[in-house]
């Protein structure tokens, strides 16, 4: 079927010598398309788009208009930034359940630094990124050192941070939110980059540009660099990777740090855009990131997936969130819808993996 290795050694018959490259080209057209992890997500995104464009109950068919696009890209963008990070981590064989609450923690830390300690907004942003890097490193080091499932370690981080978020906010403000004044030094400049809009009449969110940039860079790293090769390897089989000299622990810790720092980016965006942040921000969103990554073709067992796929997964979530409102459905169906999408995606993924991993003996 695939390889002519079953023949005796001197066998390279004329058909092999002459036609090898020609057949290579023929294989790649169809098979390589089907091999792509994001193909399912692309088809899914098109289907979901068509569905909500059809059931759209708004008079001007908002969903398929540019104004509608502004809405669903807005909804999808912050999910997308996180889903890409979570996807890379998942390809590396790990989970981060604290990714959702981290967005809140980082936004709150930003609010605290700016309002309570009068720190320049830019300095505060750097501090938040460093803080997130440290939390991510703690997650990562705990996972690689204890060899416990990251599911458990980050569940613990999740609950610790969830309590800290509300506790510290109440302690300092006697309320459950930090309000950031737009008079704070550096606020205007920072907001124009992290929490503003572009394309004047439609006002797309800045986060959309960040989302696209993050997807492009992550795809580059994953598919074109040595580090990307290591991500696939540590998720595919950490022992085999270690045996050929891949720094498994370092790779995983870096992925945890990247995930936490993405959460910091999103937290900063939310806090600056809304000039303040609630102490419960982000709780529960980690599941949306995981759904987006899995819908995008990532295997829960690691070693396989794509950043573009995760972005498409986030786009599907954005479609659903906005589409259901435009369709005048009860918004609670949103969760059911995502649940069904997840079921279908996992089914397709399992089939793909069986085809890719099952060996002929």
């Amino acid at each position: 079927m695939s390889v002519a290795g079953t023949q005796p050694v001197p066998a390279p018959a004329p058909r092999q010598a002459g036609l090898g490259d020609e057949r290579l080209a023929r294989v790649s057209v169809l098979v390589r398309l089907l091999q792509r992890p994001e193909l399912g997500a692309l088809i899914g995104a098109l289907a979901v788009y068509l569905l909500f464009a059809t059931v759209d109950a708004t008079p001007a068919h908002l969903f398929s208009s540019i104004a509608g696009m502004q809405n669903w890209t807005d909804a999808a963008s912050t999910y997308g930034i996180m889903a890409v990070a979570v996807a890379l981590l998942m390809i590396g064989g790990e989970f981060d359940l604290s990714a959702g609450v981290m967005t809140g923690t980082c936004g709150l830390l930003l609010g605290m630094l700016i309002t309570r300690y009068a720190v320049n907004v830019w300095v505060a942003i750097v501090a938040v990124l460093v803080f997130a890097g440290i939390i991510g490193a703690i997650n990562g080091v705990l996972v690689v050192r204890t060899k416990l499932p990251s599911f458990i370690i980050t569940l613990a981080t999740f609950f610790v941070l969830r309590g800290v978020d509300v506790g510290v906010t109440k302690l300092l403000t006697n309320t459950v939110r930090f309000d950031i004044s737009d008079q704070a030094p550096g606020f205007a400049g920072a907001q124009s980059i992290f929490g503003s809009t572009f394309l004047a009449p439609y006002n797309f969110q800045d986060a959309v540009l960040w989302w696209i940039a993050v997807t492009i860079v992550a795809t580059w790293v994953l598919t074109q660099t040595t580090f990307g090769n290591w991500i696939f390897a540590v998720g595919g089989d950490a022992n085999a990777a270690r045996a050929v000299g891949v720094p498994v622990s370092r790779t995983k810790v870096i992925l945890f740090m990247y995930t936490a720092m993405s959460a910091a980016l999103v937290g900063v965006m939310v806090a600056l855009r809304f000039k303040g942040i609630q102490s419960g921000q982000g709780v529960g969103l980690e599941f949306f990131y995981i759904i987006a990554a899995v819908v995008g073709g990532c295997l829960l067992t690691g070693g396989y997936g794509s950043a573009i796929g995760a972005s498409l997964g986030a786009l599907i979530i954005g479609f659903a969130q906005i589409g259901i409102i435009f369709a005048n459905w009860d918004s609670n169906w949103y969760f059911t819808f995502l649940g069904v999408i997840l079921f279908v995606a996992v089914g397709v993924n399992t089939l793909v993996r069986r085809r890719a991993a099952s060996a002929r003996r």
Binding site: S2, V3, A4, G5, T6, Q7, P8, V9, P10, A11, P12, Q16, G20, R23, L24, V27, S28, V31, R32, Q35, W220, Q224, T225, T226, G228, N229, W230, F232, A233, G236, D237, N239, A240, A241, A243, V244, G245, V246, L299, G303, Y304, R353, R355, A356, A357, S358, A359, R360, R361
Partner: protein, 285 residues
């Protein structure tokens, strides 16, 4: 025997012993492998094969004896040093990552790159070309370099690991039970690669518990039993029957069958004992 056999062995251990606390893992083991030869290490489970591999590949140090690579005494402090000295191990399970493509697996851990700074990237064109070339030397035409290693057969996956070790400068190839998880046909394919590696002038150490796999490809045979050297032969000095008999552990098996017979109140046990007695007779002839 092959004509490379003159001169200094690529790898040689003399009277090597290894203790784990009070447990004797290996006692007084001597063996050698020469360029263009296959040395088979035969032994049942617990014979000390794994301990021997771990010493040869630098995972463990040895407590007594000598370890020579190309005539010079060595003491490796880790697998990296052993690999740098040209000793590569292909583990049965740890060889490749099934979901990754053949070319990514081939260069994993030693990826070729082009460009500098932020545009430094995998040289995938070079990697694919070299991989196909190296695989072709082993008689495998990889049509699609992007195909996942998991879609290859068990034997072909071993071939990827062997080709990779050879490309990255292995002089001595240690194959750890490469055929034990494979069916008859795939085992044959792996044996073919063993012969090929030998033809290319490598020294091959072939660890197995199956004399039927060892005898056709081996030049030297080292038999281990309970951490001790049970015998060391060149091909001319032994035969498949002899190896099989020794592997089956002649007297030991006989004793076991007698013991079983004593317990043979149970008819099922009796049957087992009879079969075992037959086995002893057959390997004895």
């Amino acid at each position: 025997m092959s004509d490379h056999s003159n001169g200094v062995p690529l790898l040689e251990v003399r009277h090597v012993s290894k203790y784990f606390g009070s447990v004797i893992a290996l006692k007084d083991i001597s063996m050698e492998v020469r360029a263009g030869e296959v040395t088979c290490v035969l032994g049942d489970n617990g014979a000390g094969k794994s301990s021997l591999i771990k010493i040869l590949s630098g995972v463990h140090t040895y407590d007594e004896g000598e370890f020579l690579v190309e005539g010079k005494p060595v003491r490796f402090s880790g697998p990296r040093e052993a690999r740098a000295a040209g000793i590569s191990v292909v583990f049965q399970d740890l060889a490749t990552i099934p979901l990754m493509s053949v070319w990514r697996n081939f260069f994993l851990g030693s990826e070729p790159t082009i460009g500098v700074g932020p545009v430094r990237r995998l040289n995938s064109g070079f990697a694919k070309r070299v991989m196909r070339e190296e695989m072709r030397k082993m008689g495998i035409d990889v049509r699609d370099p992007n195909q996942a290693v998991g879609t290859l057969s068990g034997g072909e996956r071993q071939a990827v690991a062997i080709a990779r070790a050879v490309y990255f400068g292995a002089k001595v190839l240690i194959l750890d039970e490469p055929t034990s998880a494979l069916g008859v046909r795939q085992s044959g394919i792996v044996l073919k690669y063993v012969v090929q590696a030998r033809e290319r002038g490598l020294g091959v150490i072939f660890i197995t518990h199956n004399p039927h796999h060892a005898f056709p490809v081996g030049d030297r045979f080292v038999l281990l039993n309970r951490g001790k050297l049970m015998g060391s032969y060149t091909k001319a000095e032994t035969s498949l029957d002899e190896l099989t008999k020794m592997m089956a552990g002649g007297e030991e098996l006989e004793r076991l069958s007698k013991e079983l017979e004593k317990m043979a109140a149970d008819p099922e046990m009796k049957q087992v004992a009879q079969q075992m007695a037959q086995e002893v007779n057959r390997s004895g002839t």
